[in-house]
C-alpha cells in the first residue's frame, strides 16, 4: 500500500498519527506478563506471548481511530527468532485490522544485501517456482548513509508491490547533530540527505496526493528544520517521530504538513503504549488508556492542523 492508501486512511479518520508497537516487557501490564510466565516459565516464549497479547489489545482499541502502526524491529529481535515470529504475527494481525503497517527497521546495506532486505520487508523470496513473502509490511524505514545503492533495490519492490519507504533525513534524538549538522558551505548533511531522498523519489511513481514512494523521517524536535524541509521536499511524505515523550508538540509538528494538512504522519509510541501507567489501575485499563491517549493526540494535532 502506498502513501495514497495511508493518506486516504488519515483523511477518513481525520487522524495523521501512527502508533508505535515498540514494547519492552516492562511496558506490558504485570498481570499479562505473569499469566504467560505461569504458562511458559521465565522464557522468551513467555515474554513474546505477553507482548503479543498487549499488541493485539492495543490494536483492537485503536483500529477505528488510528490509521497506522509502526512496529520497531529492535523490540522483537531482542527475543531472538521467537520475537521475529511474533513480529510476523503482529504484522499479520495489524493488516487484518486494516492498519497501514510501517516496519521500522532502518536497514541500510548495498547491492544484493539491500535486495535481500527488501525481499524480507516488502517483497518476496523465491524457492523453486514459489514466491514467498517475508515480514510483508506496507512500508519500511531505511538508512541512506551508504547512498543510492542502499535504497534502489527497495524502490523496485515498492513499485512492483505498490508499497513505499521512508529514509532517515533528520532524526529526533539529541546526538543527531553530531553528523547530520555538519556544515559544508551553505549545506548541511541532513539537507544533502534530503536532496538524495528527493532524487530517489523522483525515480518512482507519484500518487494521487502528489507524493512519490520515498518518504523522509524528520524529527519533531527540530521544528525549524521541519519547516524548511517541508518547503524543500513538496513531493515527499514525512514520518515524524519525537512527538510527546521526546518533547515535540502539536505546534512543532504543524510544519510537517502541506496546506491541506496532508503529507505527514506523526508517531507516538510510549505515550500511547504506557498511558496506563498514569491512571493508577495497574494496567487493567491499558487498552482504554491507550485509546484515550491516542484521541488526545489526534485532537491536539487537529486543533492546530485541520486535515482536509
Amino acid at each position: 500500500m502506498s502513501f495514497d492508501t495511508l493518506q486516504s486512511k488519515i483523511r477518513s479518520m481525520k487522524n495523521p498519527t501512527v502508533a508505535g508497537l515498540d514494547a519492552r516487557l516492562e511496558y506490558v501490564p504485570a498481570a499479562i506478563v505473569q499469566k504467560q510466565i505461569e504458562a511458559y516459565g521465565e522464557t522468551r516464549k513467555a515474554a513474546v506471548e505477553a507482548i503479543f497479547e498487549f499488541n493485539c489489545g492495543l490494536m483492537d482499541a485503536l483500529s477505528d481511530i488510528v490509521p497506522a502502526v509502526k512496529p520497531q524491529s529492535a523490540y522483537y529481535e531482542n527475543w531472538g527468532w521467537e520475537g521475529m515470529e511474533m513480529l510476523e504475527r503482529t504484522i499479520r494481525y495489524a493488516r487484518s485490522k486494516g492498519f497501514f503497517v510501517i516496519a521500522d527497521v532502518k536497514r541500510g546495506d548495498i547491492g544484493s544485501t539491500a535486495a535481500a532486505y527488501s525481499e524480507a520487508w516488502l517483497g518476496k523470496s523465491q524457492v523453486g517456482e514459489e514466491q514467498i513473502p517475508g515480514f510483508d509490511a506496507d512500508c519500511v524505514t531505511l538508512n541512506g548513509y551508504m547512498g543510492s545503492d542502499a535504497i534502489k533495490p527497495f524502490l523496485k519492490d515498492a513499485e512492483a508491490e505498490d508499497k513505499c519507504v521512508f529514509a532517515l533525513v533528520r532524526t529526533s534524538n539529541p546526538s543527531a547533530i553530531e553528523l547530520q549538522d555538519m556544515v559544508a558551505g551553505d549545506r548541511v548533511v541532513y539537507k544533502v540527505m534530503g536532496e538524495l531522498v528527493d532524487r530517489w523519489g523522483k525515480t518512482t511513481s507519484v500518487g494521487e496526493y502528489g507524493y512519490n514512494r520515498v518518504g523522509a523521517v524528520i524529527g519533531a524536535t527540530y521544528p525549524s528544520d521541519l519547516r524548511q524541509l517541508r518547503k524543500m521536499l513538496p513531493h515527499t511524505f514525512f514520518l515524524v517521530p519525537g512527538y510527546g515523550a521526546q518533547g515535540g508538540t502539536a505546534e512543532d509538528v504543524h510544519y510537517a504538513f502541506d496546506r491541506y494538512g496532508r503529507g505527514a504522519v506523526i508517531n507516538a509510541s510510549r505515550s500511547i503504549m504506557c498511558a496506563w501507567k498514569k491512571t493508577g489501575h495497574n494496567g487493567e485499563d491499558y487498552a482504554q488508556a491507550a485509546r484515550d491517549a491516542a484521541l488526545e493526540m489526534r485532537d491536539a494535532i487537529r486543533a492546530v492542523t485541520p486535515i482536509l
Copy 2:
C-alpha cells in the same frame, strides 16, 4: 570476545580474514536445495535448511584456517522468522567450531531502541529473574548516522560481556561517495564519522594489542582513504569489506594493517561461498572449493602483509 580474541586467532592462523555467510539460495549447490525441497516442498523451511547445510559445510571446511565468520542478517531476514531461527543456529554452530562471530546487521537507532538492539545481538533480555540472550554474537556492525545515541547502549553491553562493535565509516560501494564524501572545509563526512568512532572507542577499555572496543568498517575499494584512516585511528580495529568480487586487492588492503600486520580483518563472501561455481563440478566440491579460495586469499594477503 573482544578484538584481542580475534587478533589472537588471526595470529595463530596467520590469516586476517573473515568469511561472509551471506547465502542467497542460488549460492547453494542445486543438489542440496533439491534434497530439502523434496523433504519440505517449495517452502521457506526448505530454503532455510538448504542454507543451513551449506553454512555448516562451509564452516567445517574453514574452521582450522579462517578465524572469523560474518553472517549478514539480510540473507536470513528474507526467509522471515524461519530465517532468523536458522541464523541463531548458524551463530551457535559457528561458536561451537571456535569462530569469532561478527553479526553484520548495521543497526542504528536511538535510546531504548538501541538498547533493545544491543540486547538482541550482544547482550541479554530479562524475563522475571532470567537473563536470556538473543542472537548472541561476539561482535556487531552498526550505523552511526544518528550519532552517539545509536552507539552507546552497545558499548555498555560490549564492556559487560567482553564483546565489541564495528561502526560504518567508509563503505566499499560505488554510491558511498554521495553522502560520505561531502566536504566541509578540510573535513569530509566519513572522516567526521571516523572521529566519532575514535571518540566512542576512547570511552571503552583497550585490549592487549592496543585496540579499543569500537572498530570501523572501511572499504578496500578506497585504498588511499584506508591509509589515511589507519594513521588517523591507531586504536581502532578495521573490518574491511570489498576484497575480491568488489575489486579490492591484497595491495589495497595492506593499508588497513598496522606495522605488525595487526588491527584489521578482511572480509570475503562470494569469492569463498561461490568458489564452486568456477570448478565445473556442479557444487559437489563446494567445501573444498571454499577452502581453496580461502587459502588463496590468505596467501595473497600474507605475501604483501606479514602477520606478526
